[in-house]
Amino acid sequence: MNRFPLLRLPYVALREVILSTDRSDVINLALSSRKTCRIINTTRNTVSMQKMSQDDVDGLSAFDKLNIACLETRENSTKVRKSIELRLSEQFAFSFLLSHYGNDSPVSRPSCTMSFRFQVNSINDRIEGPREIMRFQDLDVPVIIRSREKICTLWEDIDFGFRFLSYHFQQFKFRMESLEVNPRGADESKFSRFLRNSADFLRSSGKPDLSISNIELMTDSDLQTLLHNTDYYTIIIQGPGRFPDNFACETICLTIFNADGFTLKHLLNSKCERVCLKGTQMTSGDMREVLNNWMDGRLESLKDLHVELRDYLYIAVVLTGLSNRTGYDVNRTEKFMVIRRRDGKKARISIPKDERERKMFDMSICYY
């Protein structure tokens, strides 16, 4: 092979070579070594998200975006936030999001964002588009590039494909942002296998948010796999749906919409700081049980509970559980009932002020 000593060129010439190199090739050049990457980033043909414009990023192919993600991982810049989202549904996909922030303020808006998605498909799936070969480490994988944001990877053994990509993407050390689960339309056994396979990936990638749709289509074993192996920051469940008897979850924030299948037992079994339940079949009597449990020192992780009841809230019914107890104080104001436990912890229950709030049970726990 005829070789050329690129780095021995004078800087002006080296810059000209880099400026004349196509975007995909310059990204590969940057991947060849850190030193080359640093030189490239001194030119206009930059490969750093910190220097690229949104137009530059939008013009990249999905594969170039993956390579930029590799570079950003290697450079480990704190100004580029990197996250990954795993979608387990009829289609199994890894979605990447990179955002560059001009400053370190957590409320600042990103100056440049980049997203792309890798889908795991069977080689027999009918997907329109020409097939190409993409190299992941030492493996050539047939792919169909659907758009600048989406690549379908094709596998003889889809389980292997999922495991391989999980392992490959783990090296990016991106924050696992969220896991979206929707079993509707998915092959049941394949779905279960993917859930099991994803466990390692989820554990290694941080504390994601979990979103579940069509929970009634999930087997008890799948839910067990999903909820008992991984810590989630928040869990959002879209009902309606049946929850297994032994359903329990541990998270910072649990939100369930159309929670008609979510019972008092499920609530008492869960360890969550903030719980928001919409459209439950629960009653004031159930809230009395919640208060009783709290008075007995259970539900200790709970800080906020917001429940939309089946019927109107009757504060008197909720408080009847206190009648046989001693060592607590109750104070009533216009807006709240405040119950102070023996250990000084207080539960503040909101008194509904209008018709709209009549079905709402709101309880906050505090020390002051």
């Binding site: 070789r3 060129l9 010439a13 000209e16 400026l19 004349s20 310059v26 060849s32 850190r34």
Partner: protein, 201 residues
Amino acid sequence: MSVENAPVVDVDEAAIPVEKKMYYRFESNDKKEFRVSELAIQQSETLNRLVEAMGYTSEDVENKPAIAIENIDGKTLKLVFQWCEHHKGEAIPVDDGSVPKIVEIPEFDAKLMDIDNGLLFKLIWAADYLNIVQLLNVSCKKVANMAQGKTPAQLRRVYLLPSDEEDEAAKRAAQEAQDPRAREVEEEFEERKRQGGNSFF
């Protein structure tokens, strides 16, 4: 016009008739002499300023020694002046800021640069030194084209790029060469550690 017929006059060969207009004589570092037209010289900002500053007349060109270009050899300089003669009178391109830069390599230039990479490397150095913008553009584009469709590993081979590990090793070696005592201290430290000592000093 073909590459072979480009009107650069290599004085040693003196095969091509000299046109009746202002020209200059240049000498490479291996003592090869070239006659180049004034218009062709305008492609090189460096040479153009040089001859302007010298203010040579036609007689001066003949009577005074050739202008020495000490860091470019005859083979490379011949290519440079062939290129300048072919493109004489053309406007010097201005960077329009596009990324990647759009550079077309004309057929003449492609043939001129159909050379081994060693000579191409020297040609780029010469284009940079003599500040010949368009020659630098096309020669750099030729180098850029070597990257097309290559993987990072292939690019390391094509462009002789050291890997990160090699860079690190070279950096360490350079540090050690700068301070030979550092290696001795490190070895002594390792030896003491092996012997179970917990204090170095």
